[in-house]
Symmetry: C2
Subunit: 361 residues, 2 copies
Amino acid sequence: MGVAAWVADGACAGCLVTVGLMSPDSPVVALLGSPDVVPPPNLAQIEALATVRSCTADDLGSALPGADVLLVWDFFSRALRDNWGAATADLRWVHVCAAGVDSLLFDELRESDIVVTNAAGVFDQPIAEFVLASILARDKQLHLTRRLQRERAWKHRETTRTAGTSALVIGTGGIGRATARLLRAVGVRVTGAGRAARENDPDFGTVLLTDDLVSYAGEFDNVVAIAPLTPQTERMIDADVLSAMRPHAHLINVGRGQLVDEAALIAALAAEQIGAASLDVFTDEPLDPESPLWVMDNVAVSPHMSGDVIGWRAGLAGQFLTNLEQYLTADGPLVDILGNVIDKQRGYVVSGGRRAGDSRL
Amino acid sequence: MGVAAWVADGACAGCLVTVGLMSPDSPVVALLGSPDVVPPPNLAQIEALATVRSCTADDLGSALPGADVLLVWDFFSRALRDNWGAATADLRWVHVCAAGVDSLLFDELRESDIVVTNAAGVFDQPIAEFVLASILARDKQLHLTRRLQRERAWKHRETTRTAGTSALVIGTGGIGRATARLLRAVGVRVTGAGRAARENDPDFGTVLLTDDLVSYAGEFDNVVAIAPLTPQTERMIDADVLSAMRPHAHLINVGRGQLVDEAALIAALAAEQIGAASLDVFTDEPLDPESPLWVMDNVAVSPHMSGDVIGWRAGLAGQFLTNLEQYLTADGPLVDILGNVIDKQRGYVVSGGRRAGDSRL
């Protein structure tokens, strides 16, 4: 931002307009938040570069007209779909502060020229750690130990050596890759599953075809679901796959609840077709208090927090700011200058694309 | 064993003598077990090489006269001390199937020419995994999550990124080294503490003097106690060290309970001088049902099982067999041909010595 000036803009009805230091041609950023969500910690920095219209789902319709950029800070919001008619031709870029864009995408947005970017990268390492923690906790029987502790029961048991066990990581994006690297670092034998089969992948070695999941699901001690939710991946882990898994197998879902047929999973756990599940995501969230998953001994239920380490919101906000600086200063088509551009037909960032910087936690 | 013959020996009173294939000069091995402990899974292989006198603490006194070797399979037994008078000049070698030899050693044994070997190596990787599991479980709040699960409470929280945190590993033997390597593999910044300060250690980088513990205990997020129990290390983690630690620090004890002043630890945890403890060992085991440690929210109590992965007893037995084969076939002083020879004055295997083979789990 070479030239900066005081700009006041009171023209937006129903939304808060921030007054700040910015150039006359500074973009208008509609910031979709929520009363339940703290604002971006770097809001002042964003406001130094753009006219920010802070809004919620209730007044997004008033904030969108004339907005160049939409920042979906309330990252599971479906409000853009509901207010699509209010977006004008000015809207060129939507950034969503989530790794999965399944809540955001809809046909009109897919078919538009609007570039969509996401938070790829921020959650890679934190979720990888959560997966490793889940596997180790199961192998070392930490939850049973804690239960015995409540009973003051001293009961020596033999546990499972984690190194040398196997894991299938379904999903070969950034989180899947970070997970594969971390599991390999502690000696777990990792195989990937993705849309395209291949050998000699740097992180996975072998990547198997997700379409054939049922044919090889029985070969692994741990199965990690971290694929994006798309029509192709929805309920990919169904009753057939679950019954093909090893009786002691551990399913870890840190992707989306809808990757798994939840009713079939509950049945498989109850019938001990599989050994354990660590579930951070569910078909409906928050998980229904009546769900049997809460009370199953071999299930760990966590509230969609696997990637949310201290500093995660600052990471998300910093990533958007980096992309905004690119938007303002770089020349060329948006798809080339922005990081983490979503392939809207596939529903995720395609590997090989530019990554948004300095956001790793 | 080149020459083998059927040898029957019924001369031992009060102990079971096994008849097997062995040479006329096969050694007599007193195998100190317990009614509560399953025999070595490779007993038949040991019996093919030696005359085995299986006994317990009750009849060790009958098994010792004429025994060349004592295998302390009931590894915390103090029965040798109690039956020391029954050992004859034949006794050349005592092997204990534990990493720590604190229960075994006593002055007369120290001063004798008997070579003592231990199970160094078997527990290295399993205990390292247990330490990592304990750190990740604490950082990811898995125990709190499980408690909330019992209440069917969906409560999103922010957790701690483990990579980038720091750990002090007190004890630079095999288990400490394996722990350092594993923690480093997941991005934890590791420092060692040992008897001799040094830089550029291949596993620890820096090793600080254990004597100065109080001066640097405050610099670490995690403090792992895995030193051998000796007069020098007993209660090394005392009230002063605990009060020097960070308020959020996590103490992991997988060594011996007596490394820590347990009363001071209870006080420090109750006063939130430190943040959490994962304790696998205690001053008295089993832990007294009245101990306040059982009911502290920030304490994980496990029953001295950190290294006991499936196959551990086979690993211990295999390690003794390997050493026994060395004993039978190699030439030279026992201290040179056996693996895992204990420095009886120091109370542990000194690094640089021969290691017993093929026992890693």
